[in-house]
Amino acid sequence: MSENLFAEPNLKQITVWARGVLQNKDARDVVVALTEAAAQENKHVQAWENYVDLPDRIYVPVRAYAKISSDPIDSRYVYENDAPDIVVLVEETLVKNDKILKGLKEGGILVVNTRRSPEEILNFLVTKGNLGTIVTVDANSMSTAVVTLSGSEGATDATGIGGGISAPIAGAVVKASGIVKLENLESVVKNPAAMKRGYNECRVMKLDKIEPAQPVKEETAWDLLKRMPFAGTVDSPVSENPGMVTGNWKTRRPVIDKEQCTECSTCWIFCPDACITRTDNGMEFNLKYCKGCALCEATCPSGAITMVPELDFKE
């Protein structure tokens, strides 16, 4: 009964995924532009950034959120969007992250900033649960990303809203969802031309069949109490830290040409995450933790390492 009592049937949720530091601003701009446009339509709105993500780590997946409703938003202190209607990826390799569609409403929309086609992106999705529409937009060719710390940690953004790649991405969101009127979005973004290109040039693909989402079992406070170690103290990780898996930070991965490698171990010294080990089979990379910083490529004296885009690999 309590669930019905607190239901917010007119609430729409948008979750935007991006890469830490470099894309915080554009991710925030997507939600701010859409909510400011919605506010002009007398909607109740909320735009905010995930407080628990680690926004000051370069390339770490980060999230910004929007809520738009015709009713007052009672759930404004809930940390995360639990049931997004629209999910946006500001960077294409995030498509490999198995959490992006978590909680997606039935028939939900996924918008990806990429040169690739919706069909290609669809292939990389770990789960397609509840997905109804997939949209791709090549925002990088329509505008330039804005990298700034202005507006972080709740401070005012002095650089203006929607000047970067957020504009075409927001345009694509509106094309696919109609969540706000195009002219209202146009009046709030700094780069309306790019916004309109996103709107006009994005590729929208409706899925023939909506796969049902697998139910996710959330841990209760009692489960957490059970697994809370004494005084919160944990064993120091010896080789791998299961609490800090950094593999999903990378957009490119190191590929070694073992013919060229002299096994000098320079890369082993420089890898900040100790992902490289010397084995009988030559140098091996632990991709579960490699965060794609490319220091190994830069320091290898033999040019044996090449950074290759993540989406060149299915896994």
Binding site: S2, L5, W48, Y51, D74, V78, E153
Partner: protein, 395 residues
């Protein structure tokens, strides 16, 4: 009339500091209050605020800097969160003992361990008895308004005491709300310039905080108590003037929501009370006689107001968003103090304590629903089976 902007509690605090034309600011970064200082730094860089911003080497130094600056006649501002608040602890009593109306923003953060940046009132409540005026704002608008009101009250010649303006970390510091940012002229009318009682001046040297004999302890402390006793009168007058000039009226002590014919109420402070209100409103639709009372001034604690206004309810549930281990009553400091305030009405009003939202967790709608249901049960049976509940484990 100023314009309405959608801003966070951090920005609202910075706007108030700008409008109060503060002279000296000391900063040291810690989440979640940091946004206030980055906002102020930019205001200074943009020429919107003429103030000295001193980057301290830690919170103890931060408080020491505004201590000296306030003594030299400057209107001052500082702030912190969590362990930053407690690291500065030594300096709080001297500032109020010297009767310097320093103002500090606290964006709540859990105390360690472990390192958690979620919000809890524990940090600010640690400092509750240091002779500072203290209250919690629950929205960015109230943050801005409370900063202005507290400067006025703290700098009143009858008071001359420092102030903590507290806001829940994340829930208020980081979540945007619509804020009417007033005009400078309105603020000038409301807030007279700061006049120090004993200004530091090389031409007339003074010793601030000299060593005294124990015999001077009672009179010195009694002076501070007398100043504290003057606060309520000044606070009421300031709220009246605030309503006249800015058109926003707040009850200085307790905000009541749907309490008119309420049988049971939730009592608490800060942003979580907004969730409590949303739950009360939904329960009202079902015909439940429930309401919410939100404490606005925590120090001085409004004992008489609580006694006068809350003895009409059958059951009061006090929500503490803090961990005070081993405290009387078994919940938190609010529960302990509300029980004391209601002691004089005897057994007529039942009280139950709830500890919730620790570590920065949201107190959910469902948790407030369970609290209301528990209070209704207590009101109906007239029996308090258990005095205090730690959520979510015990209720």
């Amino acid at each position: 009339m100023g314009k309405v902007r959608r801003i966070s509690g951090c920005v609202a605090a910075a706007e108030a500091v700008r409008l109060a034309d503060v002279d000296v600011i000391s900063s040291y970064p810690i989440r979640p209050y940091t946004g206030i200082m980055s906002e102020l730094a930019r205001m200074i860089a943009d020429g919107r605020l003429d103030a000295e911003l001193v980057y301290a080497e830690g919170e103890h130094a931060q408080l020491s800097i505004v201590y000296g600056a306030s003594a030299a006649g400057a209107r001052t501002f500082t702030g912190s969160s969590g362990v930053g608040v407690t690291f500065a602890f030594e300096v709080y009593s001297p500032i109020s003992g010297e009767r310097l109306p320093v103002q500090m923003a606290i964006g709540d953060r859990t105390l360690d361990p472990p390192g958690d940046f979620g919000s809890e009132h524990t940090d600010a409540e640690c400092c509750r008895d240091q002779g500072w005026i203290q209250g919690w704002a629950s929205t960015p608008q109230e943050v801005l308004d409370m900063h202005l009101i507290y400067y006025r009250v703290g700098e009143d010649p009858k008071v001359m005491l420092p102030q903590y303006v507290c806001q829940d970390g994340y829930f208020v510091t980081h979540i945007l709300g619509d804020v009417q940012v007033p005009d400078e002229a309105q603020v000038k009318e409301f807030l007279p310039p700061y006049k120090n009682h004993h200004i530091l001046d090389p031409k007339k040297p003074q010793i601030i905080g000299p060593q005294i004999e124990p015999c001077m302890g009672p009179p010195q402390q009694y002076q501070r108590k007398q100043a504290f006793d003057n606060i309520n009168e000044v606070l009421i007058k300031a709220h009246d003037d605030f309503a006249r000039i800015f058109g926003r009226r707040y009850d200085p002590f307790l905000e009541e929501f749907m309490t008119d014919d309420a049988e049971v109420v939730i009592f608490g402070q800060g942003a979580h009370m907004n969730t409590a209100k949303a739950v009360a409103a939904r329960l009202r639709n079902l015909g439940d006689k429930v309401g919410v009372v939100r404490l606005r001034t925590f120090r001085p604690f409004p004992t008489d107001e609580i006694l006068k206004r809350m003895s009409r309810f059958k059951a009061v549930g006090v929500v503490d968003n803090s961990a005070q281990f081993g405290i009387s009553g078994g919940a938190g400091v609010l529960f302990s103090e509300v029980r004391t305030a209601l002691y004089d009405v005897g057994d007529k009003v039942k009280t139950v304590g709830f500890v919730g939202g620790l570590g920065g967790e949201m107190i959910t709608h469902d948790e407030f629903l369970r609290m209301f249901r528990k209070l209704q049960e207590v009101a109906k049976t007239g029996k308090v089976e258990k005095r205090a509940y730690w959520l979510p484990f015990e209720l």
